[in-house]
C-alpha cells in the first residue's frame, strides 16, 4: 500500500517536472542600456536617466513559466540596480543594492535571471538612491499561459495597454529630499497651499490656524512634493484608439494595466465614460468591482476595464495627483475627446480643522473610537468639495451656508463610489498553508517638521533585522500614528489583506495605510534571504522608514561577499545628513546660519556679523540630539564667540544681574531647546562662566502666502523682529530690527 503511493507520487513528480520544463524552456531575454539623458518636459532641459533611450523604461512582457533573463548595461557615471516589484524570485535577484546584491558599478553589466512563477501586472524600478524619480521605472507584464484555468473571458481577452504613472520635477531629486528635511515650504507655495494666517483669516478660519500651530503642527498637505508634470507612459496625453490595427469602437471594452511608478504621488483615476471596473491589484485577480473612482497609492498596480459608451467620442481617463495640482489624460476610443471635470481644489482649512481634532497635544493621533481600516473612511474627505458640497456653488456661497445652524441642505447628488480594500475579493481562496502563526505589530511614526519617518520611532539603521523562519505564517498588525498615509511594500511576497472576505482575502504586496488606520496582513514565509519591507514613498524610504525581514538560518548570498560591510552602506541612506544654509545680506550686517541634520542629530552655526566693531560680530554653534518621537526636545552643547567694541568699562547686564563684556568672549555652553506650542523655540543655555541665557524664538511665521515673520527675545536683553518676503526658492527680501545692530533691510539668500 505504502509502496504504491510512493510510486504514483514519483510518477506525478516526473510528469510535473517535465511539464514545467517544457514551459520553462523558454528564456526571454531583454537588454537594458541605462544612460544619462537630457529631457525637456517644461521648457527647461534637465538631466534624467533613460533606458534604451526612453522614459519610462521599456515594457517587459513575459508569459508565466518563462525564465526572464535581463541584461543590465550600466552606462551611467554612477551605480544602479533594478528591483522587480511584486515578483517572487530568488533573493539575489531582488535588486536591492547592499541587501541582495552589490550595486551595479558604472560601465559594467549585470544579469538578472529568474523563473516567472506568477502572472499579472507588475513593474520594475531602480532601487538605488533617487534614480526612480528621474526616469527609472517601467511596466513588467506577465501574461497568463494559454489555457490557464484562471483565464477570465471578457477580461483577459480584451484589448490591453500597460500604463505607468509617474511625476516629473525640474528640481534635482537630491535637492527635493534636502528641502523636505529642512521643512522648506517652497513646495506648498508652488501648490498654493501655504495655509498662512492671512489666508486663514480670509476664509474665517483664523481660530483653526491658531489651533493648528498651538498643537505644534506645520501646515499639512496631502502630499509633500510639488511636481511640474504628471506622466502616463512618459507623456501628458495619451490616446488608446486601436488595438492590433483594429480601431476601437463603441461598446468595446479595454483593459488597462496601471502601475503607479511615481516617487511620491498618489493618483486619483476617473473616467469620463462611466464606471471603472477593477479586476486585479498588484498582479492578483480580484472579483470585478465597479467604482466611480479609485486612488492608486505609490507603487500599487491595478488592472481596470473601461467601456467605450458611444461612437464618435473618445473618453478621458484622468489621472490627478492627490493634491490636485497636476493631471495627465488618456483618451479611449476614436473621435471628439469627451472630458471629465477636473477635481476641485482641496479645502485645506477643513483638513487642518480635522487634523486639529484628531491630534492630541503630545503628537499622538486619536481616532475617536472609529476603528479605521482599509481606506474605507477617507478622513481627507472633509477637504473634497465634490463630496461634501455638491457642485455648482461658488466658494462665497459656501461660506454663507456655513453661518447659522448646520449646513445648507446639500443638492441631491448620488454618492460617489470610491474603491477601498474592503471591496476587494480574491477569485480563489487565499488561505495560507498551515504553519506556526506569529504576530508582529508595527506603528508607523513620523515627524513632519523634521521629515523623519520611521516604524516604532526607529529608522532602518537603528534596528536589527527581523528574523523569520521558513514555514511560519507572519501576521502584521500595522497602525498608522503619523499624519501622512504610507504605502507599505513587502519585497518578494504577497500578503493577504484581512478585509472581511474570509478565505477570499485579496493578495497584495503594497497596502496604503491612512492616518489612524490599523490594517492586518498575513503572509507565508516561503523564501530565503533578506527582504525589504518599507514605505514606498521614495523620500520616506530614503529617510529610513522600513525594516528588513531576514530568514534564519541565513543563507549566504553569492552577490554579497561582505554582507556586514554592505549593510553599513545600506544604513548610510537614512544616516545621511542634510545641509541647509542661509544668509541675510542686510544694510546693518550679515545674519545667517548653516545647519547639518540627520534623523537624530543637528549641528548648526548662526552668525551675526556687523559692518563695524561697534555693531560686533558673533557666532553661536550648537550640536544637539533630538529626543522623543516628536523631537520637540533637543539638549545640546554649544560654543559662542563674540566680539563687540563697547564704551570704556561698559558691561552688559542680563536679566539675572549677571554681567558680560561681549568683548572678545569665547564660551562653551550646555543647553536645551524645546518646541513650545505655537512652534516657539525655547532655549536655556548655561555658559562656562556661569551665565544663564533663556531665549524665545520663532522663525517663519506664515503671515501671508509669501510673507514670513520671525522674532527672538532673550534674557541678555537682546531682541530681534523681522519680515521676509519670498520671491524665489533661494531668495527673499528681508527687513529686521535687531537690538545690537538696529534696523536693516536686504536680501536673504538661502539654500
Amino acid at each position: 500500500m505504502q509502496k504504491r503511493h510512493f510510486w504514483s507520487g514519483c510518477l506525478f513528480v516526473i510528469i510535473l517536472w517535465s511539464a514545467c520544463s517544457t514551459w520553462a524552456q523558454k528564456v526571454v531575454r531583454y537588454d537594458l542600456y541605462i544612460q544619462d539623458t537630457t529631457v525637456n518636459f517644461t521648457g527647461k532641459a534637465k538631466r534624467a536617466i533613460a533606458v534604451n533611450g526612453q522614459i519610462p523604461m521599456p515594457d517587459l512582457h513575459f508569459t508565466e513559466g518563462d525564465t526572464a533573463e535581463i541584461w543590465v548595461h550600466n552606462q551611467l557615471k554612477e551605480s544602479t540596480s533594478l528591483h522587480w516589484h511584486g515578483l517572487f524570485l530568488p533573493n539575489k535577484e531582488d535588486g536591492v543594492p547592499y541587501l541582495t546584491q552589490m550595486p551595479i558599478a558604472p560601465g559594467t553589466t549585470h544579469v538578472y535571471r529568474f523563473p516567472l512563477i506568477q502572472n499579472g501586472t507588475h513593474w520594475y524600478h531602480s532601487h538605488s538612491g533617487l534614480q526612480e524619480q528621474i526616469g527609472m521605472y517601467g511596466s513588467f507584464i506577465i501574461h497568463k499561459r494559454e489555457g490557464d484555468k484562471t483565464v477570465r473571458k471578457g477580461i483577459d481577452d480584451l484589448p490591453v495597454m500597460p500604463v505607468i504613472l509617474s511625476e516629473w520635477t525640474d528640481m534635482k531629486p537630491e535637492n527635493v529630499h534636502r528641502m523636505l528635511h529642512n521643512a522648506n515650504d517652497w513646495f506648498a507655495l508652488r501648490k498654493n497651499a501655504v495655509q498662512s494666517y492671512a489666508e486663514a483669516a480670509q476664509e474665517g478660519k483664523l481660530g483653526v490656524k491658531f489651533g493648528n500651530e498651538w498643537k505644534r503642527m506645520l501646515a499639512m498637505d496631502v502630499s509633500d512634493v510639488y511636481y511640474d508634470k504628471v506622466l502616463l507612459n512618459g507623456q501628458t496625453e495619451l490616446q488608446f484608439d486601436q488595438y492590433n490595427q483594429q480601431p476601437l469602437k463603441a461598446g468595446d471594452k479595454v483593459r488597462l494595466r496601471i502601475s503607479n511608478g511615481g516617487a511620491s504621488s498618489y493618483f486619483w483615476l476617473r473616467y469620463a465614460g462611466g464606471k471603472i471596473t477593477v479586476v486585479a491589484t498588484d498582479g492578483n485577480d480580484i472579483e470585478p468591482v465597479d467604482v466611480d473612482r479609485l486612488i492608486i497609492a505609490v507603487s500599487e498596480t491595478y488592472d481596470i476595464v473601461l467601456t467605450i459608451p458611444q461612437e464618435g467620442l473618445s473618453y478621458e481617463l484622468l489621472a490627478t495627483t492627490e493634491d490636485r495640482t497636476q493631471s495627465a489624460s488618456m483618451y479611449i476610443g476614436n473621435g471628439i475627446r469627451q472630458l471629465i471635470s477636473p477635481l476641485p481644489r482641496l479645502r485645506y482649512f477643513e483638513g487642518m480643522k480635522m487634523m486639529n481634532d484628531m491630534m492630541k497635544m503630545n503628537g499622538d493621533m486619536k481616532d475617536m473610537g472609529m476603528n479605521m481600516s482599509l481606506n474605507q473612511m477617507d478622513m481627507n474627505m472633509v477637504m473634497y468639495p465634490e463630496v461634501m458640497h455638491a457642485g455648482g456653488k461658488s466658494q462665497q456661497m459656501d461660506h454663507s451656508a456655513h453661518e447659522g445652524h448646520g449646513e445648507q441642505p446639500m443638492a441631491k447628488k448620488p454618492g460617489i463610489v470610491t474603491l477601498n480594500y474592503a471591496m476587494m475579493k480574491a477569485t480563489a481562496p487565499t488561505t495560507l498553508p498551515d504553519g506556526p502563526v506569529r504576530t508582529l505589530t508595527f506603528e508607523l511614526t513620523g515627524n513632519m517638521n523634521r521629515y523623519v519617518w520611521s516604524l516604532d520611532n526607529k529608522v532602518v539603521s537603528e534596528t536589527d533585522k527581523i528574523l523569520i523562519r521558513k514555514g511560519e505564517n507572519l501576521r502584521l498588525v500595522i497602525y498608522n500614528n503619523s499624519m501622512m498615509r504610507h504605502p507599505m511594500h513587502l519585497h518578494g511576497h504577497d500578503f493577504r489583506v484581512l478585509n472581511g472576505q474570509g478565505a477570499y482575502a485579496p493578495m497584495k504586496n503594497v497596502i496604503d495605510i491612512m492616518p489612524m488606520e490599523t490594517d492586518t496582513l498575513e503572509f507565508h514565509a516561503n523564501a530565503e534571504g533578506d527582504w525589504f519591507f518599507h514605505c514606498h514613498i521614495l523620500y520616506h524610504m530614503m529617510s529610513g522608514m522600513g525594516r528588513i525581514f531576514s530568514y534564519t538560518p541565513a543563507t549566504p548570498n553569492p552577490l554579497l561577499p561582505e554582507p556586514k560591510k554592505a549593510l553599513r552602506m545600506l544604513y548610510m541612506d537614512d544616516r545621511m545628513p542634510h545641509f541647509m544654509a542661509e544668509n541675510d545680506f542686510a544694510s546693518n550686517g550679515n545674519d545667517g546660519m548653516f545647519m547639518l541634520q540627520n534623523t537624530r542629530w543637528s549641528l548648526g552655526t548662526e552668525w551675526r556679523l556687523g559692518y563695524n566693531s561697534m555693531h560686533g560680530y558673533e557666532t553661536e554653534t550648537h550640536l544637539g540630539r533630538y529626543i522623543g518621537r516628536m523631537q520637540w526636545l533637543m539638549p545640546f552643547v554649544g560654543f559662542d564667540w563674540r566680539y563687540r567694541k563697547m564704551g570704556h568699562h561698559e558691561v552688559e547686564r542680563n536679566l539675572f544681574g549677571q554681567t558680560n563684556t561681549k568683548d572678545n568672549r569665547a564660551m562653551l555652553s550646555l543647553g536645551v531647546q524645546y518646541t513650545l506650542p505655537m512652534l516657539v523655540q525655547f532655549q536655556a543655555e548655561v555658559y562656562q562662566d556661569g551665565n544663564l541665557r533663556l531665549q524665545l524664538m520663532r522663525e517663519d511665521i506664515p503671515l501671508a502666502k509669501r510673507l514670513r515673520m520671525s522674532f527672538m527675545v532673550n534674557t541678555d536683553k537682546e531682541y530681534m523682529a523681522g519680515l521676509r518676503y519670498i520671491i524665489h526658492r533661494n531668495f527673499a527680501l528681508s527687513a529686521h530690527y535687531d537690538s545690537d545692530m538696529g534696523f536693516g533691510a536686504g536680501l536673504t539668500v538661502s539654500y
Binding site: 469627451q338 461634501m388 460617489i416
Partner: protein, 279 residues
Amino acid sequence: MKSIIKIAALILFLLPVSASAQQFKHSKQVTVPVSGNCDMCAATIQKAGSAKQLSSVNWNKDTKIATITFDSSRTSADAVLKKIALAGYDNPSFRAPDDVYAALPGCCKYERAVAVQPAAQQHQMQDHKAHEQIQNQSLLQPVLNNYLAVKDALVQSDGAAVQQQAAALQKTLEGISMSSLGEKEHMAWMKVYEQLIAESKVMAAGKDVAKQRRVFMELSQHMYTLVQAMELTEPLYWQFCPMYNNGKGANWISKEKEIQNPYYGSQMLTCGRVAATIE
C-alpha cells in the same frame, strides 16, 4: 479738449487692435469653430483660453469661430481648446463635461453637436444607484423613525412614552455600524453620534417632560445634521418654534408639513413654522 478727444479716439482705436494682434515669441494662429450663443459665452471662452504670454482667444459670436493665437513653443491649439471645453464649450477637439455644460447660464445653453445617447447600460447604472439608495437609507432610517417616535411622544406630553422611545433610540444608535454607512452619512454620523447617544440616554433617564424637552432641542439639532446627509425617500420638514427657550426658539424634524409642536404639546400645538424642507 479737442486733443483729448483725439487721444481718446486713438486709444479706442488702438485697444482692440493690440488685444487681437497679441504677439507671442513663437506666435501661431488657428481658427476653430467653438459652440456657444451669446456675449456671455464669448467672455467665458476668451477668458478660459487666454493666458499671459501663452495664448489669447477671440471668439466671434456670429460666426462661432474662435481665433486662437498662441506661443507654439510653449503650448498648442489643442491645449487651449481643452481649456475652452473645460469651461463648458464644445469644439472639434474636445467635448465639455456634461456637468460643466449643465451649469452654464441659461442663455449660454447652446445646442450640442454630439448628444449623449441614452445607453441601455446607463439605465442599468441608474437602477443600480436607486437600489443602493434604498440600501443606504435602511441603515439610518431606524434612527430617524425612533427620533420621530420620541417627537410624537413629546407632542403628547407623555413623559413615560418619551422615556421608552428615547431608550429605543439609544439602542438603535448604539447598534449602527459606522463602517457600513455611505461616505456622506459616515461624515455626518461621526460629527454627531456621540452627542446623539448621550442625549437619548439623558432623555431615557427620567419622566420629566420639561427636562426631556430641553435635551430634545439639542437632539434635534444633531439629528438635523444627520438627516441632511441621508438619502430620503420622502421629504422631511425642519420646523421652528420661535417661543421656546426663552424666546430664542428651537427646531425639530417632522414628517408632516403641519405643525405639531413637541415643545409645548397641547398648550400651543400648532405654534411654529416650517424653516426648511429637507429632501
